[in-house]
Structure formats: C-alpha cells, structure tokens
C-alpha cells in the first residue's frame, strides 16, 4: 500500500456568487504534494492559482467559497476541520508567505515579538514559551541570514528593506517548522539579486527541515530554477502537469507551448519580434464550456474543442487536458495538418 501524499487536492472547485450566477474561478483542480518536494503552480492573472493556494488554509476572501472537492493533509480533510483545529494547522503544519510582506506583518509590533508569538502558539509543548520563544525568534532571523538578529528583532517592519521584510516573513513561516509551505509569488515584488537570495534561502531551509513547497508564480524562469514538478493553470483549470524537465523540454499543451515560446529567452536569435499568444485570457472562465483556451489556440479543432475537457494520462506523472491527445482529436488533428 502506498503512503498517501502529504497534501492532496481533489477536484477542487471555487466559486464567487454574482448577480448573474456563480463565477467559477477554480474548476476541478486535482494534484498531490509529497514530502520534501517543490511543486510549481504557474498561471497568469485570473488563472485561479492564488485562490487554489488560499483555499488550502481556508482563506478564500468572502463571498468566495469551495463548492466542490476535497483538500486533505495526511489523509485528514482540511475542509472538515473545526475553527480551533484549523488554527493549529495554519502557521503550524502549513505556513504561507505572500508577495507583499506587509500584508502578513503587523506594523505595530516588533518583528521579534511577532515571530515569538507564532512560536508560543505552535511550539509551546517543546517548552518554547516566554524568553525561550524570543530566543527562538532571534534564531529564526539568523537562519534567514539577517545580520545582527538580536538588534533586528527589536525593530518594526517599516524599518526594514523590502528584501529583509520578505526574509522576516519567511523566518516567521518557518519558525514553526511546517510540513508544507505555500509560497504565493514570494519574489515577484523583489529585484533579481534579492530574488536569487530568497529562492536559495527557501531551498536551503527546505533541505534543512524537509518541508514540501507549493510555489505559486507567473514566472516560468523561477519555476525552472526551483521546482521538481509543475502544474499549468489556465482559466481555473489544470491544463498540463509534468516534471519540470519534461515540461520545459517538451511542452505538450498548446497553451504551455505558447507561454514558453513567448519568453524573450526563447526567441530565435536576431528575431525582432517575439512569438505571442493571440487574444486575451477570458474574464469569466466559468462561463466557458469545453476547452477555455480554444479561442486563442493555434491548434483548435472546431467541433471537438467545445466538448468537455478530457484528462489524458500520457505517462506516469504526466497529465494533459487537451482534445488533441484524445482519439477523436488525433484523427481530426492529422486531418487538419494535411
């Protein structure tokens, strides 16, 4: 019998009620996260990537709600937890960091006090209370390479640079030794040199405490640098899932292909124009039946792509949702090419 994955998300659907009916922002998303691995969730704005991450800690903003599916940590449903049990998971077994550290740091407390509070809340059984919790907070700052951690611990968030605040947020998230780190665009607002510092810090700490990381980002280069596996989201649906090397070497989905081709790094040498995906992402993806990418897809098969999206397992660990890979799609595609 296989051990269940650390975190498993099955058929997750998230909707926001509106005047004209529900707007579905995440539609049947399934994936698993194993101990120690880093999985990237890539997508553009509106793809549902942040909502997916937020739902894991039941943090979807009102009036949004999970309308279907399950989320389980070590086989135990997170959606069924009581508020009290949920508080122990949040910041304890599952920690989250955001793009803007000021949203998770309280401006009126020193950073040392904020980290110590989290330690007292989640690690009191280890005897980490009072002064011991403060010392652990200083240690946490030292681990994220903040110079003079004793002095910094007594400072307020506004006294630190952006890169340092991001490191403080990571220190706070990791002070409770979580099993899972949800990182939502953790380096998007940072400069490249600081981004490199933060990404290498996350990797280093991951090796140290063996946590799993779910990295939400729009940046394919960051994914290529850090992730073992990748999930590509478009309009609330998983389009493709693969190990990072296969995805970048041989993207199968026309959307993934389009994304990779549009990177300036992948432009043919000397080309003055970049390859691009025509059109815009849909504004209300829930309204679309069939493949949500078909209006922009260069390989669209009329009469086929309007049908519900198939899920095709190409090989172990490699999944794609595209009509081109089903039998009807294949015949039609070879037809169209002739």
């Amino acid at each position: 019998m296989l051990t269940p994955p650390l975190l498993s998300v099955e058929n997750l659907t998230i909707a926001f009620p509106g005047k004209t009916g529900d707007s579905i922002v995440v539609d049947g998303v399934s994936f698993a996260l194993n101990r120690g691995e880093t999985v990237g969730v890539v997508g553009e704005s509106g793809s549902g990537k942040s909502m997916t991450a937020l739902s894991i800690l039941r943090l979807i903003p009102e009036p949004g709600r999970v309308t279907g599916g399950t989320i389980a940590l070590d086989g135990e449903s997170i959606l069924a937890l009581t508020e009290k049990a949920l508080r122990r998971v949040r910041g304890g077994r599952i920690a989250m960091i955001f793009q803007d550290p000021m949203t998770s740091l309280n401006p009126v407390f020193t950073i040392g006090e904020q980290i110590a509070e989290a330690v007292r809340l989640h690690r009191a059984e280890e005897g980490l209370t009072g002064k011991a919790a403060w010392d652990e907070a200083v240690n946490a700052l030292r681990r994220v390479h903040i110079a003079e951690p004793e002095r910094r611990a007594k400072q307020f968030p506004h006294e630190l640079s952006g890169g340092m605040r991001q490191r403080v947020m990571i220190a706070m998230a990791l002070a409770c030794r979580p099993d899972v780190l949800l990182a939502d665009e953790p380096t998007t607002a940072l400069d490249v040199t600081v981004q490199a510092q933060i990404l290498s810090l996350i990797r280093e700490l991951q090796r140290e405490i063996g946590m799993a990381v779910l990295l939400i980002t729009h940046d394919l280069a960051v994914v290529a640098e850090t992730c073992d596996r990748v999930i590509v989201l478009y309009a609330g649906k998983v389009m493709e899932m693969a190990d990072a090397q296969s995805l970048f070497d041989d993207p199968k989905h026309p959307y993934t292909q389009g994304l990779l081709a549009s990177l300036p790094e992948n432009a043919p040498q000397g080309a003055t124009r970049l390859t691009y995906i025509k059109g815009q992402p849909p504004t209300n993806p829930g309204k679309i039946t069939g493949c949500p990418f078909r209006a922009r897809c260069p390989k669209v098969i009329p009469g086929v792509c309007e049908k519900p999206l198939p899920t095709v397992q190409l090989e172990p660990g490699r999944m794609i949702r595209c009509h081109l890979f089903t039998e009807s799609g294949n015949t039609e595609a070879s037809h169209a090419e002739r």
């Binding site: 553009e44 704005s45 510092q197 290529a224 970048f248 389009g258 549009s262 300036p264 970049l274 691009y276």
Partner: protein, 330 residues
C-alpha cells in the same frame, strides 16, 4: 537625437540630508534607436526618465533634444518639445483616468496642443491611433476599466503616440502584464518604432526582455551608470562586477541549466549615505583598497566601440562565463 550630460537629481529630505537619486548620468540616444536602462529599485532609472522630460526638477546637468536644451527651455519652448517627447508609464491601471472614455484620453494631448481643425478631425485621428495599437473598433466610447491590462497599456501607448513624438520614455511598459500579453505589447512597440522611426529609452528590470528590445544597454546602480555597451557585448562580456551579479541572479527558464549561485550579499547602501570611492565596493567580490579611495570613472573597453565600464578593474576582470557556475542537475 537625445544627449544627456551629467544629469543630476538630488532630493532634499530635511536636516541638510540629500537623496542622490541620479548622480551624474550621461548617455545619448540616436534616431530610431532603443537604449535600455536597467537596474534595481531605487537605482534612479525612473527618476532619470522623468528628469529628461522635465517632469521633475533637476539639480545639475543638461539634456539636449535635437540640439535644443530641454532643461532651460521656456514654457513655450517646453510645450513645443513635449509634443516630440512622450512617456508610457508602467501601471496601466493608475495612469489612465477612470472617468474619461478611452477616446477622450487619447484625444486629450491633441486638444492641449491644438492639433486637428475640429472635433471631427480629432475623432478620426483617435480612431486611427487606436487601430494602430490594435484596439478593437468602438473602444473609443468605452472606459478604461472595461479593458484588460494589456489593452490598457495599448491605450497608454496610443495616447503617447497622439502627437507623433520622435522620442518615447518607456518606463517598465510591460512589467505589469501577463506573459502571454507582454510579448504582444513588446512587438507593438517594435513595429511602431520601425514604421515611425521613434527613439526609445526603455526602462526595465527584466534583463532578458531588455536584451531583446534594446540595441544598447546602460546599467544603473545607486544613481550612476556603471556600464554601458551594445547589447550583445554587455550580455556576452560584462565588464562591471555589478552587471555580472545581475546576470548571474536572473533565473533561466530551463531546468537543465539550473545553477547554484553565490548570491549577491546584502542590500544596496542608502542613497543618502554613499560609501566612499566606488558605490558597489561593499558588495563587490573583486574590491581592492583602491576602490574605497577613488570613485571610478567610465572607461572604454578595448575592442568594442561604445563599451564603457565604471570599474577600476574593468579591463582586468576574469573572463565571464556564466556556464561555469552551472551545476549538473540533481
């Protein structure tokens, strides 16, 4: 076409302290050329762009556009120069008034500069501009919030093009856009440049995008240009340690080229309290005692016309080979 000499912008912040945002920057932009200006937040790249258009006051230096002095121009002269020099902003959500229709937004520069005999003529011009940037028919009567980020940026470009400018400052024009839309806008800018011979100062922090978009690139650090070169030379043979740190920090979209880096340590010093000598020396792996004593000037790199680096050891740095720092996977 544009000649910037020793441009300096200092902001007083009280108690006699100065933020030296831009501190003696010089460069030129030729007709039809794109100069990329890269650097990290706070390096002064956006301030440089704004100072050139006289959107903020400068402390010293000169800006000549087509031989005419921008900084000392009278109001009438400036009004005339502004027809020829325009700006596209980063945030397509903040830079368009939500209360004006798209048509009004694009027509505004025409009205201010009395272009077009009457409203009907201006309307035709607006239609033509919106179609040139690829906006759908009928966009003129709608409001900015009805459009996506990429489309809003197209509206910002149409507004900047309204007066047929010869020079555009592009301040991070695609940074707020999704990847699949980013390439569309970059192509649009390239097409417009080709059709109209416009010069661009392309400000950005995305090194691979600037490499694609610019013929020459200037790298800024703490208010100074530390290296300037033709794009190919800058990326294949960077001659300033800071440029090397930037290039080594940028992630590569290919897992087989994953590399373990020695990240650049620390934060940039405060622009209020600069280190003596070279501003990069506190973080520089090549720093020597001389770097604390003398402020390095831009020196010519042998063999490449127009390649300059402000490092005492610009000519002695080891051969640049990013591939050496790549580790095999696993």
């Amino acid at each position: 076409m544009l000649n910037v000499e020793n441009l300096t912008v200092h902001f007083p912040i009280g108690r006699g302290l100065l933020v030296r945002a831009v501190d003696g920057v010089s460069f030129t932009v030729s007709k039809g050329e794109t100069l990329g200006l890269v650097g990290e937040s706070g390096c002064g790249k956006s301030t440089t762009g704004r100072a050139i258009l006289r959107l903020i006051p400068t402390t010293a230096g000169s800006v000549a556009f087509d031989g005419r002095d921008v900084l000392s121009a009278s109001n009438t002269e400036l009004h005339e120069l502004r027809r020829r020099m325009q700006m596209v902003f980063q945030d397509p959500f903040a830079s368009l008034s939500p209360r004006l229709t798209v048509g009004k937004i694009v027509a505004e520069p025409l009205e201010i500069h009395n272009v077009g005999a009457n409203a009907a003529e201006r309307r035709d011009r607006v239609t033509e501009l919106l179609s040139a940037v690829g906006m759908p028919v009928g966009a003129a009567n709608r409001y900015p919030h009805e459009f996506s980020g990429g489309q809003r940026q197209r509206i910002g470009i149409a507004r900047a093009l309204a007066l047929n400018p010869e020079f555009l400052v592009l301040d991070e024009p695609v940074s707020a856009l999704d990847i699949s839309v980013r390439a569309q806008v970059v192509n649009l800018l390239a097409d417009l440049q080709q059709q109209r011979g416009i010069s661009y100062l392309f400000i950005g922090h995305d090194l691979s995008l600037i490499r694609h978009a610019a013929q020459r690139v200037a790298v800024m650090y703490l208010g100074r240009i530390v290296e300037i070169a033709p794009a190919a030379a800058l990326y294949s043979n960077p001659r300033h340690p800071y440029t090397r740190s930037l290039l080594a920090s940028a992630p590569i979209p290919d897992p087989s080229r994953r590399r373990e880096r020695a990240p650049l340590e620390g934060d940039p010093p405060s622009p209020v309290n600069m280190p003596s000598g070279c501003r990069f020396r506190n973080r520089c792996p090549f720093a020597q005692p001389v770097c604390a004593e003398r402020d390095p000037e831009l020196i010519q790199i042998d063999g490449v016309a127009g390649h300059h680096s402000a490092c005492h050891f610009a000519r002695e740095l080891p051969v640049w080979s990013p591939l050496e720092s790549y580790l095999p996977q696993g």
